[in-house]
């Protein structure tokens, strides 16, 4: 069984002032969701005691390969529907940047998408 420990994310320093109150709570919830998705995936690889934080890197720390990120994109769509478009997110990134992605970068993107969807 994989243990996924969650560490409370620190609010982004450059977050807009009006968002700074709700951002950590949103991010916390999204981090918990993504950690759950990663736990399922890592279980399949038989990996134990992996700590997932905002700083965790998908490749370097979790030993995920690019195809696992595609699977993660599917899980994100299943959870959040079309509000979160992973393909759009990665379209703006170079392959190297995708490989170096941190969980936090993805969490922040999902939070931004959810906030935008609420404001529509």
């Amino acid at each position: 069984m994989t243990t996924v420990n969650q560490t409370a994310p620190s609010p982004a320093a450059d977050a807009p002032a009006e968002a700074s109150v709700s951002a950590p709570a949103d991010a916390q919830a999204v981090l918990a969701e993504i950690s759950g998705m990663l736990r399922t995936m890592l279980d399949e690889y038989g990996l134990d005691d992996i700590e997932v934080t905002m700083e965790t890197r998908f490749t370097e720390d979790l030993e995920l390969e690019s195809i696992d990120l595609v699977t993660l994109a599917g899980s994100l769509e299943a959870r959040y529907g079309r509000q979160v478009n992973f393909a759009e997110f990665v379209a703006d990134l170079e392959l190297d940047e995708i490989i170096d992605l941190t969980v936090g970068q993805l969490v922040e993107y999902v939070v931004r998408c959810l906030r935008a969807a609420r404001e529509r």
């Binding site: 490749t59 390969e65 690019s66 195809i67 595609v70 699977t71 393909a87 759009e88 990665v90 490989i99």
Partner: protein
Amino acid sequence: MAMIDTEHATDHDGPHTGTDGVRLHVQRLSPPDGRPPIATVVLIHGLLTDSLASWYFTVAPDLAAAGLEVVMYDQRGHGRSERPGSGYRLDTFVTDLARLLDRLDITGPVHLVGNCFGGTVAFAYAMRHPERVAGIAVIEAKPATESWLTEISGILRRVEEELVVHEAESLAWVSAHRGAHTARLAKSAARLVRTTTIAEDVPASQVVSEEQVRAMRCPVLAVYGADSELAGQQRWLEAVLPGARTVVLPGQGHSVLAEAPTRIRELLLSWIDEREREHGRHAATGAPAAGAALEADA
């Protein structure tokens, strides 16, 4: 994640069906806002260290945004698809593609785009099912000629030696010199070679003669990196298929798809756009007839 079981597919393959069905991982991207697609493009990845992720994280989202229905799949043994113990001759990969398109109810002519071994699959598919292909675009690839077989057999022998016999040392070297992600891919490749007959099967593939390639009527775009060992392939292809369009990208090597995705995207979009215009298919799909139909938003 869609898993397509090719086992129960309609069988169009006649004498070629020496293969068992396998479960293949498929990802599709459609044009945004429910626009009807201009055409369908199927992206085919390479051998051993590759998966559909190489498309998903490079050109696939842009191709969908430009109005194409994009189909990507992990070939047998790769990515998230099933990894049967045997059945890895080129013909089997081609049969998988035919069955996959049947299962997805994609009946009209499609554009195939193949990277490296995926390009060899595209050539073989177009030769076996010419009526089902609108055109092929291959990146760093050649058809399954005798010289292809010699090269791929050599690569597989080297992989077996380095990744399977000396796995730990090789992976440590890859990790130190090529980074953690490449090492992770190499580890998957080692598992594929160790647990299946792929290293014996691919070299046992049936080859095609120069005459058979010459007889191809399907439009062909072939892209090579100028610094790649395959760059010389351009001249051969131009001689054998005078109608083919070849492009050599300066300063690029074998991994041109990963290194120059913007250039590859532009080449693919204008290639597919031209083929569709030739067949007057744009009007049928309701897409703008001129100019902006397949423009990439650069």
